[in-house]
Symmetry: C2
Subunit: 298 residues, 2 copies
């Protein structure tokens, strides 16, 4: 996993307070910021998506990061690089998708340049006023582990898209047009009164659980049967499939009555790592499983 080496180098140049979470929390400005790129033939192929869906997903994956931080998505800037042969219609459809995903997020800047392959880099800023901002290092012993939605649908959809096989629409949509958990993340961040961990499952549920457990120095004890999932999705995809953009959070039991669409899948205990149905997985175990599942590509 060379990406891991690269990230370690980059971390050595980041200012210390900003390492670890998907968003940077700029306390003095009352904002969080995230920037992610999508590259043609690395993150998507035009054979199985279209400009509208691509715009929609590009915006949504960044909005999801802001939601998982606990902040309110507010502004977006968009850098688009595309081949000279691109048709006007493509840009229109892409921005239509972007705008539909953005909803009340203001698109405040858009830049365009040439390139051989399509390249999209989006920055989203979230407001922190009235919210408690999460950190993957802030899980507290005694909190419950909750998730939203169904896990593994996106990976199931991608598998079929890559093989050009038919499959239920919901799996395809889960991959091509994911939805950020705007409402549940808001309910948590506006009501919680203590430090907590929250992440989206962009890199899979097991990865998120492992990041939270190991960054916080705690053990997350989880029962597989409590993880919401479609019975047609393999256990491997439920645990290791990425890009569902569901929430994983650790919250006190007292918060549950204020949350809609949250499923308790386990609890935060003393120890280190993720214990799934009685078997403990260390950080190394999970990273190896992700590596074996994806052949080294994340």
């Amino acid at each position: 996993m060379k990406e891991k080496e690269f990230l370690d180098i980059i971390k050595s140049y980041l200012n210390a307070g900003y390492i670890g979470d998907d968003c940077a929390y700029l306390r003095d400005l009352g904002i969080v910021i995230t920037q992610d790129s999508l590259v043609e033939d690395v993150h998507f192929k035009m054979e199985y998506t279209d400009a509208y869906k691509l715009g929609y997903k590009s915006a949504m994956v960044n909005i999801s990061d802001i939601c998982a931080s606990g902040a309110e998505p507010a502004y977006m800037t968009v850098a688009l690089s595309l081949p000279a042969k691109t048709q006007n219609e493509f840009i229109k459809d892409f921005y239509r998708g972007l705008k539909d995903a953005a909803k009340n997020v203001t698109i405040a800047g858009g830049d365009i340049t040439g390139s051989e392959k399509l390249f999209i880099s989006i920055t989203v800023i979230g407001k922190t006023a009235g919210r408690t901002i999460s950190s993957r290092a802030h899980a507290q012993v005694g909190q419950l582990v909750i998730v939203s939605g169904e896990h593994g649908n996106s990976a199931e959809g991608l598998k079929k898209l890559l093989k050009n096989e038919t499959c239920p629409e919901k799996f395809l949509n889960a991959h091509l047009m994911p939805e950020a958990e705007r409402k549940l993340s808001r309910q948590i961040a506006e009501n919680i009164k203590e430090p907590y961990a929250m992440m989206d499952t962009s890199d899979g549920l097991a990865d998120a659980l492992s990041q939270i457990a190991n960054s916080s120095g705690v053990k997350l004890t989880v029962e597989y049967d409590k993880i919401p999932h479609d019975a047609r999705v393999t256990k491997e995809n439920v645990l290791y499939g990425g890009e569902d953009y569901k929430l994983v959070a650790t919250v006190p039991e007292s918060l549950l009555p204020q949350l809609e669409g949250a499923f308790v899948i386990g609890k935060v205990e003393k120890g280190l790592g993720v214990e799934l149905d009685g078997i403990l997985f260390t950080e190394k175990d999970i990273n190896e499983k992700i590596f074996n599942h994806f052949g080294g590509i994340i």
Copy 2:
């Protein structure tokens, strides 16, 4: 110029308050934000630069946009996409360059993905407290037109780099490692008491003058001999060469004693367009000249 068509489509999707300037001014948050991308073989070639210089310039061009808005560059996030064959040394040198250019700008986030060609997208946030933010639409009749530095050096350097010819180091450095006008832009933004226009010359001096004149609905009357430039640089490069990242601003004469390194090249008058040595250039004239000079590539 297809890019122009694309930009027109994008503008139709941007929220109205954010069209026109290189930075978006997010008043409620007290910040400006800019995001720009650099693509290998479109904006640079690895044959004539290196990882350190590329990192330096990538950060600096965005810092320059923030300075030209009048704000104080404060935070940066970096999205880097690179080929799998990239060596660790490259990332280290790139980030070293980035950090040296950033100076007191905090690098708050860094993301990395794969791609065939090198792709860099950087977002910089500037603080607006204690500063008056510029707009290219805010030039006022009666103000003076000032610029910083020497114009055309970057284009002169690029010309030689592309032909692999030797030339004075200062021209090469002007292109490969430009410097944002942090000090002069701060002196202007902290001391000015009225609306004003300010831009960097990323797309050339004539383009900046034309953008200011036509967005503000004024005539900028400029004398060529007052434009600071090295005598070895062609008039075409002084006027139309890009990527010098010098400042162009319209300020009241009373401000001049508080500014270091500013050269008065003309004044803001009633009318429309740029009048250079008595000859009026409309927006269309200048766009055609830029088009002819660069063969349609901007």
